[in-house]
Structures are given as C-alpha cells and as structure tokens.
C-alpha cells in the first residue's frame, strides 16, 4: 500500500514541477522582446527630437544631423512597393477566391507559398539582376521592386482569405438585381472584404518597412533626400545597419535613435491594423 502512495505522490510532484518549468521557460522566451524594446527606448528616445527627424545626416566628425532622408526614403520605397504589389496582389487574391479548384489556381497558390518563403536577400539579387544591371545604377525603383515582390504574397493571401468569408447571399442579391459579374465582384464583394484586405496591406507595409537585405544592392542608400526613382535612396533599416556597424560612437547614437523611430513605426502599424480590423469589419 505504501508503495502506491509514494509513487502517486512522486507523480504529482513531477506534474507540478513540469508545469512550473513550462511556465518559466515560456516566460523567459519573451524576455528578449522586452529587453530589445527597453534597450532601444533607453538609448534612442533621447536622440529623437525635431532636429533629428528633419535634418539630413552630417559628415563624420560633425555632431548633430538627422535621419530625414532615411524616413523619407522608407516612405518613398513603401509607396513604390505599393504600386508594384497592391493592384496585382488584390486581383490575384480575387482570382484565388473565385477559383477554388483548377490547375491555374493550384499553381498560383503554390507559387505564392514558395514566394513567401524566399529569403529576402535572394529577392534583392533578383531585383539587382532585373533592374540595377540593365539600368547600370542603384535606384529607388529597384528597391521598390524588391520590396513589392516581398509584399505580394502577404496581400494575395489576405485578399483570398477575406473574400472567401464573404457569404454567397451578397453575391446572389447583387446578381439578382441584374448586376454583371465584374461589377458584383468589384462593387459588392470587394468592399465587403475591405477591412481584411486593408489589414493585409498594413501588415505587408510593416514587414517591408523593416527590411534591409533586399535594399543593400538595390536602393543602396544615400546621404541625400532623393525624389528621383532612378537614383539610390536611403531607408531607415539601411541607415541603422550602416551606423550600427560603423566605428564611430556618434553614429551608434544615431542608430539607436533611428531604431526607436523604426520600431515605433512598425509596432504602431501593427496596432493600427488591429484597430482597423475591429472597427471596419463588416458584419454579415
């Protein structure tokens, strides 16, 4: 009798230990995130002021200067990637949600899944081969193409998932009014799925805003504010990379400030996405 009791006792003890271990390890795994946020805020927030955000970087040795070119560059590149990926992405998403079976739909879905997994540096090389080499120079255009290719899978999948959820009853109501198929899709189904598509776009932007690798040899970076898409352009992640790996402590400080700006932007976008989804979600 005693043997059974002690063995049960031991098993209960092991059970409790296990649960504690799981909780401890899980909590430890999120510690890095807080460490990162803490470090960036601590080192970066003091750097960020109006001068920092509005001025161009100064040459080495001079104090001051800012990252206005990087902020502008990031926004400009996002805009370019938008043009490349959003119209195509939405139409491909509509295609996938309207054609669930069939060989083309299967191949398209497969392609999107593979595209999604391609390392960003490989995409950078592709943009180099397709745009930089023929043009003979680095450019914002090539950076936009690279980021656009990266945004495509996000937008296609978000569009497809959202539109699949739109109930058939809406489609029937529209068709019964004599509305043509193209108009039904564009004016009834698509608007009904707008919140999901929008959050897909926002998440895509959040993702490409932080990308560095594909820009290393496409947009390349520039110390100037540049609006010409045929010339190199800076971006926040590129600036952070260059400054952080440089030997100058003043530039390290700038890198912390730029990191703070970038993280705020990315996390802010994630937050806005959640709000958008909640507020604009259409109830069926």
């Amino acid at each position: 009798m005693g043997k059974i009791e002690t063995s049960v006792h031991r098993r209960i003890w092991v059970d409790k230990l296990f649960k504690t271990l799981i909780i401890l390890l899980s909590l430890s795994s999120i510690v890095p995130m807080f460490l990162i946020l803490f470090l960036i805020t601590k080192n970066g927030i003091s750097v960020v002021n109006w001068e920092f955000l509005s001025q161009l970087p100064k040459p080495v040795g001079e104090t001051g200067g800012g990252i206005s070119n990087a902020i502008f560059g990031t926004l400009w590149l996002i805009g370019l990637s938008f043009i490349v990926s959003v119209p195509l992405g939405i139409f491909a998403g509509i295609f996938l949600s309207e054609y669930r079976g069939g060989k083309t739909a299967y191949l398209t879905r497969l392609s999107i899944e593979i595209l999604q997994g391609i390392p960003s540096i490989v995409i950078g090389i592709i943009a180099y081969v397709w745009v930089v080499m023929p043009m003979g120079s680095f450019s914002a255009l090539s950076g936009g193409v690279a980021l656009g290719i990266m945004m495509l899978p996000v937008i296609v999948m978000a569009t497809e998932e959202t539109l699949k959820l739109v109930p058939d009853s809406l489609r029937e109501a529209s068709l019964a009014l004599g509305v043509s198929y193209p108009r039904t899709i564009m004016k009834v189904i698509l608007p009904a799925g707008l919140s999901g598509i929008l959050s897909g776009i926002l998440l895509g932007i959040a993702r490409v805003a932080g990308e560095t690798a594909p820009l290393l040899f496409t947009a390349f970076g520039s110390p100037f504010m540049n609006q010409n898409i045929l010339k190199p352009i800076s971006s926040l992640p590129l600036t952070i990379f260059n400054y952080a790996t440089s030997p100058y402590p003043e530039w390290h400080t700038l890198a912390w400030g730029a990191s703070f700006v970038l993280i705020s932007f990315v996390l802010g976008l994630n937050l806005i996405t959640k709000l958008v989804t909640k507020k604009w979600k259409v109830q069926f």
Binding site: L175, L177, V179, S180, T184, V282
Partner: protein, 252 residues
C-alpha cells in the same frame, strides 16, 4: 380577361446527374399572386430561380425549355436584362452591409452604373420604401447602414430594393421563413397589397399563408407540377390526391 405575363413551357432543370424539375408547364396572370408549394426537395426554389436565370449560375446546372416574359423567351435574352426585369427576394434578408438604407434601395441603379438625377433618386427611394411599408420607419435614418434594422425591416428593405427596379414580376423565395410571427404578418399584409400592382410568384412552406394571400396555387411534388389552379378551388376541391394530402397537412 387577365393576360399572362409569364409563361413556362416544358421547363426541365438539373444539377449534374440529378434531375430537379421535369416538364413544367405553367402560366401566370398579370397582377396576381401565385403560391408555389410542395414538400422539401420538390423543386420549388429551383423553379423560380430558373425564371430569373439564377439557377444556371451554379456549376453543372442545366436548364431546358422556354420561359416567356411578355412573349419574349427569357433564355434567348441576355440574362442581365432578364434579371433587371424580374425582381427576387431571398429567404434570409440580404441587404448590402456596406451600404446605407438609401443606397440599398437604389442599389440596382448604382451597382449597374445607371445614372439618375438626385430628384429621381430621392423619388425612387421614397416610392419603393413606401411600397414596401418601410418608409415611415426609416425616413429619418436613410443614411444609416442597413444592417442595423430588425430582420423584418431588412426583408422589407430587400423588397423595396427589388421594387425600385420596377420589375415585371417579383419572385419571393419563402421570404418570411427566417422571420418572427409579427414580422411575418407585416410582410404578408404588404404582399397582399402589392399583388394588385405587380405580378408576384411566392414560394412558401406555409400552407395557411398561401390560403390567405394567394390568388393561384401551384403544387409541385418530386419535380413535377401536380396541380395548378385558383387557390380557393385548390383548397376546397383539389383534383389530385397528393394535392389534397399536402394541403391538409398529411405530409411535407
């Protein structure tokens, strides 16, 4: 003598291997209400969906036969034009969730890209909402979204939306089966008023409702038209045994 506005000739319909309707011959008089009845699976919904050419939208659906709307074969006309001339209201209310009540009412024009002047739009909206007995309840909140209305109000909005197109025929597919008794009564009343101005074909499960409101009744069983005639006669002296059994509630 009433002219027949809609005439169905030898209609057969199927989904792939399954035959749903066989050799249906039926005609509908102008400004009357015809009830289509029968047990579940008899093909009543398929029948009306053939009339406005919605049945063929499903893959593997097949239709044969002719349906004449004002002497023109619906199956020889562009389906989009057909659907603009025949209105449909569905079992579950389906107002467009992204549009206001106002926009829902004239959705048929907006979505089709038909441009109306503002006065025309206002007039059409008001007129169709009045005909659907919804105007008084929503006239002060026309620009709110349609999904805020109750089930019965949403359905009346769908009726208004269909009426705004001035259709020749209005098809109702069990319009009250998803509604509570009060809303159902509302719509029954509305329909019995409407039938004097427009030809209505209503699929219904509710035998008592059909007896109350309809002028004619068609009884379908297993895809065949078993009997058709004035409602009063169908209920008091049906010719077919199956009609009698169904209408007295023995099956279905």
């Amino acid at each position: 003598m009433e002219s027949s506005v809609l005439k169905i000739e030898n209609l057969a319909a199927s989904f792939g291997e399954h035959t749903i309707l066989k050799e249906i011959n039926l005609s509908f008089s102008r400004n009357t209400l015809t009830a289509i009845m029968g047990p579940s699976g008899c093909g009543k919904t398929t029948l009306i969906r053939c009339i406005n050419r919605m049945h063929e939208l499903v893959p593997n659906a097949r239709v044969s036969g002719k349906i004449f709307l004002d002497n023109q074969d619906v199956y020889e006309t562009d389906p989009i034009i057909v659907r603009r001339q025949i209105g449909m209201v569905f079992q579950r209310p389906n107002p467009f969730p992204t549009m206001s009540i106002y926009d829902n009412a004239i959705a048929g024009y907006n979505l089709n890209g038909i441009k109306l002047r503002k006065e025309e739009m206002d007039q059409t909206v008001e007129e169709s909402l009045r005909k659907a007995a919804l105007w008084e309840e929503v006239k002060d909140s026309l620009h709110r979204k349609g999904s805020f209305l109750s089930g019965g109000q949403q359905q009346r909005l769908c009726i208004a939306r269909a009426l705004a197109m001035h259709p020749e025929v209005l098809l109702l597919d069990e319009p009250t089966s998803a509604l509570d008794p009060k809303a159902t009564a509302h719509i029954e009343e509305l329909v019995s008023q409407l039938k004097n101005t427009i030809t209505i074909i209503q699929v219904t499960h509710n035998i008592a409702q059909a007896a109350r409101v309809s002028d004619f009744t068609a009884f379908l069983y297993l895809g065949e038209l078993v009997e058709f005639g004035p409602t009063a006669r169908m209920f008091t002296g049906p010719k077919d045994r199956r009609t009698d059994e169904y209408l007295s509630g023995k099956f279905g």
